[in-house]
Symmetry: C2
Subunit: 578 residues, 2 copies
Amino acid sequence: MNLKRYLPILQWAPGYSRGDATSDLIAAAIVTVMLIPQSLAYALLAGLPAQVGLYASILPLVAYAVFGTSRTLSVGPVAVVSLMTAAALAPLAELGSTEYIAGAVLIAVMSGLMLTVMGILKLGFLANFLSHPVISGFISASGLVIAASQLKHLLGVQASGHNLLDIGTSLLDAFGDINTPTLLVGAGTLLFLCWARHGLKPLLVKLGLTLRLADILTKTAPILAVLITTLLAWYFRLDQQGVRLVGEIPSGLPSFTLPSLDTALWSQLAVSALLISVVGFVESVSVGQTLAAKRRQRIDPDQELIGLGTANLSAGFSGGMPVTGGFSRSVVNFDAGAETPAAGAYAAVGIALATLFLTPAIAWLPQATLAATIIVAVVTLVDLPALLRTFRYSRTDFGAMLATIVLTLVHSVEAGIIAGVGLSIGLFLYRTSRPHCAVLGRVPGTEHFRNILRHDVEVCPKVTFLRVDESLYFANARFLEETVIELVARELELKDLVLVCPAVNLIDASALESLEAMNERLSDAGVRLHLSEVKGPVMDRLKGTELLERMGGQVFLSTYQAWRTLTGHHSAMAPSER
Amino acid sequence: MNLKRYLPILQWAPGYSRGDATSDLIAAAIVTVMLIPQSLAYALLAGLPAQVGLYASILPLVAYAVFGTSRTLSVGPVAVVSLMTAAALAPLAELGSTEYIAGAVLIAVMSGLMLTVMGILKLGFLANFLSHPVISGFISASGLVIAASQLKHLLGVQASGHNLLDIGTSLLDAFGDINTPTLLVGAGTLLFLCWARHGLKPLLVKLGLTLRLADILTKTAPILAVLITTLLAWYFRLDQQGVRLVGEIPSGLPSFTLPSLDTALWSQLAVSALLISVVGFVESVSVGQTLAAKRRQRIDPDQELIGLGTANLSAGFSGGMPVTGGFSRSVVNFDAGAETPAAGAYAAVGIALATLFLTPAIAWLPQATLAATIIVAVVTLVDLPALLRTFRYSRTDFGAMLATIVLTLVHSVEAGIIAGVGLSIGLFLYRTSRPHCAVLGRVPGTEHFRNILRHDVEVCPKVTFLRVDESLYFANARFLEETVIELVARELELKDLVLVCPAVNLIDASALESLEAMNERLSDAGVRLHLSEVKGPVMDRLKGTELLERMGGQVFLSTYQAWRTLTGHHSAMAPSER
């Protein structure tokens, strides 16, 4: 049983049927065709030689097929992670240098180790600290930065930078150097891909294809663009016109690579590797869960960490770059009918064949074509409706989202994500440090108690029912103390104060001390402190503390009981209550 | 009114009476006598020349008298802040060098600025993030480190370090160099002070003194030790025996000092200054609140920030060191009968006179005497019962406390406090990320619902009432989703799921998306999602979201209403319910 848990392949491989194999092989063929340009493009985006993208699409797929729990997730280089890799390596090594490539390998290995260890320690919940608004804002902003970073390839100029400001100024400086043939190739590809996205599918359906086939063919439009522009580049010798091509890349399978053991480099890259791991994990899990839900399957987040961890380790040791489960490729795999992770392993074989036999053709591929495919892909990452929805629902969440977006756009991806996480945690703590408190009255004739400011309720001047809508812990302990002291100073007739605790899920040691201090002050002022509706787990812990011993009042099971005992209205109640 | 708020002196100065003045003058005389050795000792502890301690006990007291809200707090150098200052400066400058002294001035100025700005922005609540267990553990551990750091003065050897490990090894290395006369002075003072603490008061009472006078005289025992050892040192020329003395210090009032404007130094000291500010503020406020409560006075934490901020600014600009409200000196001031902050201002005059006329005598004071007074003072900081109490009440809080203690002891004060704060926030988030959930049943014959695992209650197999005991936010959004999915997979007859929300104080944007996703999945499984007991503020926000539109079920005011509507037991209920 346990072995099956850690090796999910054992869950599906024994029952693997001929039918499954057929479905998986078809899906693999489609995914392979799509993966080739995507892998090359994301390597380019990460500032790496094109073949590194291919290497990262072979062994990682096999590793994920063995250790991953999603049946349809397709693992490989993805846009956001590639951008983060480039941003992490930029300050450490010159673009394209041996050290730069070694840095990418090291990030993959470190990220693989981190993910695997987190999986073994079951730390998948850590990813929850990336709130939805932060991750959505981060991905939208990254999409814009990525699109901007590709403009230089489209224009055929030199430019650099990993945020909109740097990219913008460096593009403006290079504006005079625009290469017209490059622009024609790039803009042409861009227009074709945009059209394919909206116009190709209806056209194919009109030509008599089934909806599903038309859909899949539409998604392979990038490979068509790649084929055509490669042919054009070769036929017209476009490199002599200043069009930059992918150029010669070593043919053959990747060889075993050892990561650098330079501890200084490890510590310099640690934060980046961690952020890449977490962002990659969150992206992958949300894609995996969305797809699994559609087929009523489940994925196990902790095992996913191991799946992605081993995928990254094998990417690193085979000279690749950091990988994760990508959205577009997984959707293609899913739509093409993949039944098991074996589809991924078959696609790995497809990519391996490409590195063996297709490299001479790939050499003629214009970089502008790849840039156009990236731009078209990442523009879909920008999710404006999510921005609006968050703004309407909660200004606090929107604040964290906006900080993430602005910092990602104008500073760096890392600053954006760190600020987002820090701000969402800080704002949550701030909210809980000033909890909503309500003075309650009784809904006439019932056992229910409601906020006196919102409902028409009975009150008793000698007894105040105060509901605190938050767990009591260090951040709000003093706030409660002050609220109660002010209340007591205001209500001169007060004899009994009942803290109504259905929303108190925890009383920590700091809050306990505050309650004890509060009890002292109340008894000095001649007011008895009571508690009502204390939850089981909270009560278990309070038993045996000095608070309960010293408290002048009682602990009531229900607020209504407290009302009956303290207001002395027992006989005035409706007969139904007896 | 507003002026009075920001200048608390206006609250008491107009009504200042002759009686107040008499009380304040008496208290000031006693505090002055006590402050002189304490100021010298804490300057020594911070690695600063002795006069710096005196300088920090003049103007800051005047500033606090004008801006502070506590009537009895006594401001000046205190043990923990002095240790933190030494730890902050150690890596930057050589002990006792001009740069080192300038660093202390800069920390005082930065801390003054930070506190004042925090006060103006009303950020006093930030101090709440230092939980009681963390601050108590930190102060206990600091007490031990401080005591250990003074052993070298007691033994007359050279040693260094700001944690137990470093101090221990460096003391072991120097063990052969022990200077016997120094040890005799130091150990003698230590024994005298320990005896004074327990034996002097009963003796004085037996000799016929009133209890109060005996108490105050006991607390001035350190000054007696100072007088005697100074006389001994002078009479026997102990400096020629290797006993280190305070030595010649410039006589006269401090002169105006400008802090360094070196931005690199500012940024190097920023974190230390912030930690010193926060720790000093927390210590001062807790002392101030304790004393204020005894006389039914109040202090205003935000104005306290301004009081301490201006005190530190004036300490910095007069060549002093960081200051805060100290426990022992404030208690002496309180016990001696101080009525208003004017007592502090009078004590400032006393210290000023000392810098003018007593410096020749102070030159003969042995450092071992000061070390002994420090050790006796800080040992009271170690609070073992608090450790035990926290261990019994909550292992989580104890974990944060222990981490603080261990890191403070073996690494550094800054690491200790940062780890403590980080860990308490992290553990709080972890707890809230896996909230307590309870399936509820109805207490027979009532409108109350309780956990089916803890109470004997009625249930209905087609309707599940799930109470989540936590606000729903990003950290637990996915956890809830998984809990519900598992529940639905287990309860095959389930038709209606009611989320009982009295403990849900907040639903953030991430949790809203999770609820929407959960609603989709439930409706796919043929289960309707309902909500009950949604709080007013939460409901206000949910209105207008897609969740309410798409939800198959209803929102019930009470769980009992949901029970009546969904279980169809209406007619089966007790007649009292009609």
